[in-house]
């Protein structure tokens, strides 16, 4: 349901079930900030929502360039919202480049708001327009609200005596004010945000607030073209409680802190800057009040190694990167596996290979996570599915790493990392602690000692009297921990490392069905951030009476033990992935089932429609 298919209309506002709004402009236009502010107001209003920030790799591309367009999309509504939406209902385009690159996603009849002042000959030529699209009839299929925004902003902020550069920068707040009027959002949070952000720059603070209010007043007082009016989006029914917005990065940082508290182990986070993973380092670096140590290493390898060193010394080492950086860490990760030390590796995936699409999303590092190391180096792999889910997945990664003393790979992605969604704030009192047990007794101590149940090797940290011992990457005797090149011993050690990781399957939740029945015609099996799109697609298809279920896998290795029997209950299995088919091959290889892939590798998340179409095609075949 979109703004062009309103469900009722009273005298003042049209009521719609859900809306997709996209703000697009130059990367310097402040579109991400505008989107974030609008998201906050929308969450406070009570809609469910999901967002999709989509920005270029260039920090400040030349003004007006199509490759410099930065966009922020928000999908909000009165029903559960799990994706940022397929098609755009309202497009805010701050310049011709933003219009030309985003118009294709606007629904027919959708509303487009443009800054007429930005449609200069130069900007239009740079964007590739031969004629002015505001005048040549090419926008006739849409409702166009063309406003001289720059001019109005300059008027609104005139009393504050800003330089032209700073005055023009208030454009985004003016636009935000207009869109807030359009959807009846409160400006209070945005104003509070400006007040704190520019506390030391009163003239900039006041100018931005004036621009925001002026945009809102413009909507209220100006006679707008037919069909442009206030939309009412009813509040969503969500469980009662306290909520906040969170990005995946924030939730992941909080989750790592929570995990370290539940494990009673200090957190040592070592990382090297890489898009889109750096923000996790930033986030943790600002929480030194917790038992958190952060270290910006000289490179990816050093980051992984410093984390391993910290684990050896009794902390929980965590390292983080994106695909190419994880590749560099591979040798060190295998050292952690060989020496059986805890380690969490966070991979915020991006488009690849190589530098690929640093700011775009993909889930193409599953193969690397599962197989991307030398030798037999199996390790547990888990993936988060939404921004908020990053919190619980981080706790689970810490639990497995500290309990089994293994490196654990946590897969997130650029979409989840940056997108925000409302989060029912958890209470730490609801979580069961899992404190680590360091060895302290010299009697009978050997670095080769293992827990008979988990097979975890003893964790004896330096500084503990009587436990002096050596570990290293050379194969060790199963009995003594001394160097051993014995053939039988290597077989045994390889077996025990594998058995330890395989055994984690007994300690993870059974695979459940996210939506639908536990057997039937079709199971759509996903992992990671495709959750939202699959969820909506399956919901739509089930509403139409189709026999289709959604299974979402969090523990990608080891797989839940009941997954094989669960999948065998369906006639067909469809696996949508933002890669060329990685999980689908694992399922085929492990379970000998004829799972079918649905792949998309464009740097953009799946649209719900794309999965609905695939479900229909699968059920018809």
């Amino acid at each position: 349901m979109s703004v062009v298919e309103e469900i009722s209309q009273d005298s003042n506002a049209r009521t719609v079930e859900s809306v997709v709004v996209r703000f697009a402009g130059d990367s310097g236009d402040g579109m991400q900030l505008t989107g974030t502010n609008f998201t906050e107001a929308t969450a406070i209003y009570g809609n469910d929502l999901a967002t999709f920030p989509d920005f270029p790799a260039e920090i400040r591309a030349p003004a007006g360039a199509t490759f410099g367009v930065s966009a922020f999309q928000i999908y909000f509504g009165s029903e559960d919202v799990t994706t940022a939406g397929d098609d755009v209902d309202v497009l805010v385009a701050m310049n011709p480049a933003a219009l030309i690159t985003n118009l294709k996603d606007l629904v027919e009849g959708g509303l487009v708001i443009v800054d007429a002042d930005a449609f200069t000959d130069k900007n239009m030529a740079r964007a590739g327009y031969e004629k002015n699209p505001l005048e040549d009839g090419s926008l006739d299929r849409y409702r166009v609200l063309s406003i001289e925004i720059t001019k109005r902003v300059l008027e609104a902020v005139k009393p504050y005596d800003l330089t032209h550069k700073f005055a023009v920068r208030c454009k985004n707040m003016w636009t935000l004010g207009l869109v807030m009027w359009l959807f009846e959002r409160s400006r209070d949070a945005a104003i509070a945000g400006l007040e704190s952000k520019f506390a030391n720059r009163p003239e900039i603070r006041d100018a931005n607030i004036a621009a925001l209010n002026a945009g809102h007043a413009y909507g209220e007082t100006t006679e707008l073209p037919t069909g442009v009016q206030v939309y009412s989006v009813p509040r969503a029914e969500v469980p009662p409680g306290l909520y906040r917005n969170t990005t995946g990065t924030e939730a992941l940082a909080f989750g790592l802190i929570a995990g370290s508290q539940l494990a009673s182990v200090p957190l040592a986070f070592a990382s090297y800057p890489i898009t889109p993973a750096s923000s996790l380092l930033h986030s943790l670096a600002s929480h030194k009040e917790f038992d958190v140590m952060t270290f910006q290493a000289e490179d990816e390898i050093a980051a992984a190694c410093a984390a391993i060193g910290a684990s050896f010394a009794g902390a929980l080492g965590v390292t983080s990167s994106s695909g190419p950086g994880i590749a560099l860490k591979g040798e060190a990760i295998a050292l952690a596996a060989a020496t059986e030390l805890p380690l969490v590796i966070v991979n915020t995936q991006r488009g690849g290979p190589s530098t690929g699409l640093p700011t775009k999303t993909e889930q193409s590092d599953l193969n690397q996570a599962l197989f991307g190391r030398h030798a037999d180096t199996s390790l547990p792999v888990i993936a988060s599915c939404t921004s908020a889910d990053c919190f619980d997945v981080a706790i689970e990664a810490v639990r497995i790493a500290t309990k089994y003393r293994v490196p654990v790979m946590l897969l997130s992605d650029g979409y989840m990392a940056n997108a925000s969604e409302p989060w029912h704030v958890p209470d730490m009192g609801d979580y069961e602690p899992f404190p680590v047990a360091y060895e302290t007794q010299p009697d009978g101590f050997s670095p080769a000692n293992r827990d008979p149940e988990t097979l975890a090797r003893v964790w004896a940290k330096p500084g503990t009297p009587g436990l002096e011992h050596r570990i290293g990457g050379i194969e060790k005797s199963y009995e003594t921990g001394d160097i051993s090149y014995e053939p039988e011993n290597h077989q045994k050690m390889t077996d025990v490392r594998k058995a330890k990781v395989d055994g984690i399957a007994r300690d993870i939740p059974e695979q459940t069905v996210a939506m639908g029945d536990s057997s039937g015609k079709l199971a759509v099996v996903g992992w990671g951030s495709t959750f939202g799109a699959i969820h909506q697609a399956v919901k739509r298809c089930r509403r139409e009476g189709m026999d289709v279920s959604h299974i979402h896998i969090r523990h990608l290795w080891p797989l839940p033990p009941n997954l094989a029997s669960l999948l065998s209950g369906y006639d067909a299995v469809l696996v949508p992935e933002m890669n060329t088919g990685q999980l689908v091959k694992v399922l085929r290889a492990e379970f000998l089932i004829d799972a079918k892939p649905l792949n998309k590798v464009s740097g953009q998340p799946f649209k719900i429609r794309e999965i609905v179409d695939a479900i229909k095609a699968s059920l018809e075949s």
Binding site: E40, A43, I44, G46, A189, V238, G241, L242, Y243, R244, F254, I257, A258, Q261, P266, A268, A270, H287, K288, E289, F290, D291, M293, F295, A297, E298, D299, I301, A302, A303, C305, A306, A307, G309, A310, S311, F312, A313, G314, A315, G317, T339, V425, P426, D427, M428, G429, P462, G463, P465, G466, L467, E468, H469, R470, G472, G473, I474, D482, I483
Partner: protein, 338 residues
Amino acid sequence: MNAPAKLTIKDFETDQEVRWCPGCGDYAILKAVQKLMPELDVPKENFVFISGIGCSSRFPYYMETFGFHTIHGRAPAIASGVKLANPELDVWVITGDGDGLSIGGNHMMHVLRRNVDLQILLFNNEIYGLTKGQYSPTSKVGTRSPSTPDGSVDLPLSPCQFALGSGARFVARSIDTEMKHLTEMLTRAHDHRGASFVEIYQNCPVYNDGVFEAVKNKKNAPETRLVLEHGNPMRFGQNNDKGLMLDPRTLKLSVVTLGEDGVEEEDLLVHDETNKVIAQMLADLRGPDFPTPFGVLYNAPAPAYVADVYEQRIAVREKKGRADLNALLRSGQTWTVE
């Protein structure tokens, strides 16, 4: 608690069979380190030896302390993590010319720059031993090896120059078989708070035998070694009648003989450990025209990284107050759904 019995060298020997080649210089270094340990005022359980890959990197297996034999070139990074997690530990990095200056050169540079409080012992034998004799980044031009059968053509680097260039605050050089001098250098390195870099000339009897013969040979030593002592004029020679003089116009060092051309002791350069310019000149000296300097080339302590990190953390905690995760989760913009 009773005062623990004084530890001896035996307390630092492991039951592992030492597997270096007969005659390897590593044996002597191992002995010197094991002998030094009981003299340092450190609880035994706080010693940690961390190494990379190569002959020298087997070292931790032979020390009855906590030890970690890691991966090629990465010991400085792993040691940094150990120290960050527990600053109380007394961490020693054992590396070689290939491990520390080739594959691990980047980590070496940054651990020195950051001034992480570690003792870094770089065993320099100017060759790759464990991979069977290829030339290393410190091999002299013309070194014949399996990978350079016609002689190497690329210029070597000076480990001490590298360390100084990376910002090291303590740089010393010694010789594997000079137990007394080596022990003194290790003690000085241990006393220095921050990253302490000690280059140890170490003979590889299998792949590069005698490469340091000119300075190691006791008979030649007085002529080929310049033993540095802070505050003393730089004198050497069979009759202790030679010295180094600095030409203030060209900033060049020259070897002079006392009593010749009117040269007196007051004309000689006096060693100043805190003077980086002198340290850099010394790090570059080599035979046959000059003696090779041994001793502390540079010692100018600066704030150590890990200590500063912890201080910063304490300051943040004082400012922010008690850490409460539930409160953090509830901070910022929140709303309640009834």
